[in-house]
Structures are given as structure tokens and as C-alpha cells.
Symmetry: C2
Subunit: 171 residues, 2 copies
């Protein structure tokens, strides 16, 4: 196996998934895309990621089919990165992973609460505990939780200090 991101001999779907989303920074880029971040500069400011790494990750995610690059204005020509349906489906692993972190690594309580907007129920796992239905990403709202530090001042952090519908663009 070469150095780097592949797990060639593994014959395992988890390993295949990790070849796409397992690199450093990648899942945080996708998390931001789920929050509605679409522009290079917004990712950059919210993640504190080296520019070269962000470029590489965005390109790789577009190639993998997780993000799509889309022209949103012509003068000047500007592209944005939005989640594909395949990318949106990462919502469930991401939520369950974040909730695991919340249970075991957050000493001050949850930082963000995810609610099913159609019934206002707080989510746990992938099914809405109230209505039993599977909850798609665009029916979810994030709200600040008691554990949030709020020590950041970029546009994304500020937008997430109030309830925010997932996938809605950041102002």
C-alpha cells in the first residue's frame, strides 16, 4: 500500500468510505457544507484550514461525487460547492458520530441541538423519536446548546448562534 489515504487490501465498505471521507479535515468540510457553507472563503474562515488543503479536499470531494461545483454568478465568475444527494446521505453517520462525541467528550453539555422541524422534536439517532420517520437533512434545524463556547467570530459561527435550518446558505 502506498503512503496516504488508501486502504487497498481491505475488502470492506467502511474502508472504502474512509478513502473518501477519512482524511484529515474532510468530514469537517462536509459538516460545514451541511450547515449551508458553500464558498471557499467561508470554509476557510470557519475551519482555519490551510488554503492548499482546502483546495485539495474540495477537488477530491467533487471528484468523489460528494460535492458538486456549481456556477452561481457570471460576473465575476464564481463557483460554489454544494452537497450532492450522495453527500447529504452522510448526514446520519455524521450526526451519530457527533452525538457520540457529545456523550463522551463534551464536559459542558451539548454544543448543538438538532431538531426535527416538522414536529420540533430533538433528534437522537436517525429516526425521529416522536414520529418514527427517517429524518432527511433538509428537515433538520440546528440550535445552539448549553455547551457552546461561542468564542469565534466568523460568519458561519455567528450564523450558528441562532437556530439555523440545515443546508440554508450562510448569510
Amino acid at each position: 500500500m502506498a503512503l496516504g489515504k488508501n486502504y487497498d487490501g481491505q475488502d470492506c465498505s467502511l474502508a472504502k468510505a474512509l478513502e473518501v471521507i477519512g482524511e484529515r479535515w474532510t468530514l469537517l468540510v462536509i459538516r460545514d457544507a451541511m450547515y449551508g457553507v458553500r464558498r471557499y472563503g467561508d470554509f476557510l474562515a470557519h475551519l482555519d484550514i490551510p488554503r492548499a488543503v482546502l483546495s485539495q479536499r474540495l477537488t477530491a470531494l467533487v471528484e468523489a461525487g460528494v460535492l458538486a461545483r456549481r456556477r452561481y454568478q457570471d460576473t465575476p465568475p464564481r463557483d460554489e460547492y454544494v452537497l450532492t444527494p450522495m453527500g447529504r446521505e452522510l448526514w446520519i453517520p455524521m450526526l451519530t458520530m457527533a452525538q457520540w462525541g457529545e456523550r463522551h467528550l463534551a464536559d459542558r453539555g451539548p454544543r448543538r441541538l438538532f431538531h426535527h422541524v416538522t414536529c420540533d422534536t430533538r433528534l437522537d439517532l436517525a429516526h425521529c423519536p416522536a414520529c418514527g420517520r427517517h429524518v432527511p437533512l433538509d428537515e433538520v434545524e440546528v440550535r445552539p446548546g448549553p455547551g457552546l463556547e461561542g468564542n469565534r467570530n466568523d460568519p458561519v459561527s455567528r450564523a450558528l448562534e441562532s437556530p439555523h435550518r440545515m443546508l440554508d446558505p450562510i448569510p
Copy 2:
């Protein structure tokens, strides 16, 4: 931020979780522990991982509370690595991630099928679709799926060619 595994400014539970489970190889080590792998040599043979990296990951996971190191015989003294309750809870993010990989990256169908042993239902997501209950790891059985290549010959790969109860030690 230093180079490496931390995401210091993030104030996010997903980032905190990724500091523990986001490094290269780490989730595959945990996957193997869920299959019942416990010994250094078995991890080594199944993962094709450099020895130094495996040592570092096992030590880090023990420090983080995901694995516990336990003496299982005294002559000669031998330790094994087993999942803690905190580690077992990673089951749900791992399953959902693997199923995402299966849906989008496996061209030949699923490699492994996960069934709820109490009702024999194939699992999708974290709730058993038949009985509606949340499915804990020790009620799950893995079975080979049609997409499995079966080109490996270490003890773990061989054990997983027939149905195997999760967490049961590898023979």
C-alpha cells in the same frame, strides 16, 4: 494549531470525536475490535498496518477510553485490547458509515450483512426495522454478502467468511 490530529479552534462535538477516532487506521482498528479481534498480532495481520502505527493507535485508544487493555494470561504475560462501553457505542456511526460506503462505493453489492440476531432481520440504520428497538452491538451478527471478494487469508478474514456474532473472539 499544531500539525497532526487536533482541531483546536472548532468548538464542535464532531471535531472532538474526530480527534479521538479521526486518524488514519483508527476506525479500522475499532471495526476489527467490534468483530472480536483482541490481539496485537491479529490486528496486524488483518489490517496490513505498520507495527509502529498499530502500537501508537492502540495506546491512544486506551488512553481515550475507547479500548481497555486487559491481561488474559500470566504465563507468558499477554494482554488483549477490548472495547469499553464507550467504544461499543461507536457501533452506530460505524454501521451507518459502512452502509453509506456500501450504497455508493460498492459496485458488486454489499460485502457484509448485519442482522439482528433476536429477530433475524437485516439491519438498516440503528433501529431494527422489524422490532423497532435500538440494536446493541452484542445482538448483531455479520454474514458475508454477495460483494465480498474473499481474497484474504488471515484468521480474521477467514472467520468472517461465515456468520459471526459481533464481539465474539476470533478463533
